[in-house]
Amino acid sequence: MDSYIADISKTLTILCVEDDKDILEIYKSLFSLVFKKVYFATNGVEGFACFEKENIDIVLTDYQMPKCNGIQMSKKIREIDSSIPIIMVTALESIEMLREAIDIHVTSFLKKPFTSASLFSTFNLAVKSVIVDRCMVKEQREKILYSNYQEDLTFSKEKTITKNDTEKNNRLFDFRCEVQYKPKDILSGDSYVIRKLNNDEYLVFLVDGMGKGISASVTAMLCSAFVNYYIDQHLREKRICSLKSLLNAVVDFVKPNLLEYEVISAHFLYFNKKKNELQYAIFSMPPVLYMLDSENVLKIKSNNTPLASYTKEFHIHTLDISKLSKMIIYSDGLNENLVDNSDIMYNSYLSEDFKKAKNMEEFELLKNKKITKQEDDVTYVLITSSL
């Protein structure tokens, strides 16, 4: 046995199942110095009981034994552990026994009578098999740890980029403002920014990168990070930050970073309390739903095609919000999610649920009655008058 194998063997346990007490004594004298711990059993029943109770790394078993033979015991062991090395000692060369042993993946055979050299040669293989198994388990564990670490870090980064100035008190002017940000995977293709520009103005920005996965997420995060940078810079320098200037800057910034077929969908909403107006530029996003002082749910449709590397101009429109009572701004993960056990999109119910819900909690309850399986990243901003 080479020194590496010998060192590893000293960390392993072995179960020896043998009805011949003389042979058991030989095992005891041979293995006590080689393995960390040696367990003994005189038949398959005892052997299996010991395997269940102790933490065994290698099994050495005789074939012919009273009560339960080596094959019967190994079958039970395989039901619990599919990879533990099992070495079978036998004087027989029955084809039927060999076939059964192969079926249950007995690792090696030792033909009686055997020499100590053949015994240790067989053990070398068994120990190597344990080493490979342990390395694989260790590698998998490390991969999972690394993946979890990356996911936690990525989500923290996303949360850092998605700034929300209404988060502390959920207030946007006199309205209640609540946000649901629920990525389907850790890397979200959605992102949002809600910023207070001054006492009279707020920006709500919601972006949805094209497609799914890392590319969409990187684009969405880039856009949000830039919008925050742009606003922070203007706030620091006490400059006026108009929607038009912000849009020009975002378009200039994002264009060189887009792939050939890549487009971005986004809501840019500027709320102005003094003027009681909402300026908006919506680039192929689902409509904003809102209610004034009546029971009707109204919608603001996109007034622009998606943002792309070739975007040169955009439209900004204005809405009177003097009588606004509630509003919902959302990504397509909300309205295009299929309702459970149907081919109908939640879009068919959204307007009614929005109308009924007084706040996000109520809206979630209504929505979750129809949808239990989230199909895409979901982000929405719910603005209600009930504080």
Binding site: D208, M210, G211, K212, E260, Y261, E262, V263, S265, I282, S284, M285, P286, P287, K299, K301, S302, N303, N304, T305, P306, A308, Y310, D332, E336, D343, I344, M345, N347, S348
Partner: protein, 94 residues
Amino acid sequence: MEISSSSNIITIKGNIKALSHYNAIKGEIDNIINDFSHVKIQILESISITSSIIGYLCNIAKQGVNIEMHVQDEGLIDLLDDLNLVSLFNVRKI
């Protein structure tokens, strides 16, 4: 989803949802626009369309390809209208 084409017309049956659908549709249209500057897309049954396909169609429209989209599902027409794509894709009801 099933896709077939004849001349400059492609017909899509079933719901458009997966990445493989995007690849299939893009492949068919790429072939058509090699020979035609006008492509007619018939969408039967589907209630939605993926953003990847929207991105691709916007791009070829920008390159001068004339797109005509004939859609069966009312919901999808409303969706395209909400997204401000009716005019760009010349959406019509079947």
